[in-house]
Symmetry: C2
Subunit: 204 residues, 2 copies
């Protein structure tokens, strides 16, 4: 996160940690506002109030609401890319892909990152948007390689790019219907979705 | 469509057909504006210009841009529900579901309906939104029944509601990545997606 370092990198350890935790508190306050009001109608003043900060103090942490949105989306992608990295420790490609799909769902249904992940990157200024799109493309390419590997192992003649997009669509769509009060936990949803999406990569 | 009848039902045959075709022309003009600018930033004046109408004339056909959006989404749902009805002629549940999934993709990638189908219904006034949500729920229930039937035929112990949402997510997501200049036609995308999504409903 380029802009973050401007302020944060000059802070000593304890203050840097306090800075990070304050930013997390702001994200937690902003997420339901974005979710309920939509990004266009959310105001910095409203976010400041929800985070119990003065507007001036909020601007110390984020220069605008698009920077908050950027930071949420960037963090979600970092978490999903970390899922790819962790999965590398598993030998079986199918189990590796299962771990990646599961992490994706858990990130989407997280109360902070997930709340903004469905918002179109078009809401971001061009420079921030380009960074998110580049990271998202990197993630999609990694998933596509895994899908191709699983399909080859299963001797399945499949279009890995198309199947990857089908998978990502199914996973991303969860934010539109998931309700915390629903019958299934995020973990149960993640496991069931991964099982279904992986069955489509088997030769019957 | 309730509002439509107000004007249209009083017109004789030839004029009613002209009215319909003028409305279709307006949708065709509005769709790329919604797609490129987003719904919030699209203006009635801009839509009127693109449709080569005066603003006053445009208001004769649609009372506002949310009525245009409503009409597009309503038409998309009618087309998908018609897909369910047509599929009833096929005996095999799996082939029936294949036909429904295929029609869904073709509707999403249509230059008019698909352009607005990804827009959140939150953009609509409550009364119009309720009508779209009710019709969407009716469609989703019909798909879910079909998914349940296919799963039973395959002796697959599956959560039909969750799998239905995974399928709809994969299908709806196409509007975010489809480009008319891409390597695959809408028909090829529809067939490949349906094949993948149906494989996940087989017992391996």
């Amino acid at each position: 996160v380029v802009r973050k370092s401007n302020v944060r990198s000059r802070l000593p350890g304890a203050r840097a940690r306090r800075y990070d935790s304050r930013r997390d508190g702001i994200l937690r306050a902003a997420a339901p506002i974005f979710r309920e009001r939509g990004f266009a109608d959310a105001g910095m003043r409203e976010i400041a109030e929800a985070a119990e900060l003065s507007p001036a103090n909020l601007y110390h942490y984020f220069k605008g609401k698009d920077e908050i949105l950027y930071y949420c989306q960037d963090r979600a992608l970092d978490r999903m890319l970390a899922g790819i990295a962790v999965a590398r420790g598993t030998t079986d490609a199918r189990e590796r892909l299962r771990a990646v799909l599961t992490t994706h769902v858990l990130t989407m249904l997280d109360e902070v990152e997930g709340a903004t992940a469905h918002l179109q990157v078009e809401s971001l200024a061009p420079r921030l948007r380009a960074q998110i799109v580049a990271k998202r493309d990197r993630y999609e390419r990694a998933v596509r390689r895994l899908v191709g590997e699983v399909a080859r192992d299963a001797s399945l003649d499949a279009d890995a790019a198309l199947i990857t997009r089908a998978m990502l669509g199914a996973l991303n769509w969860t934010v539109t219907w998931y309700r915390p009060a629903g019958p299934k936990s995020p973990r149960q949803i993640a496991d069931a979705l991964a099982a279904y999406l992986l069955r489509g990569l088997a030769h019957c």
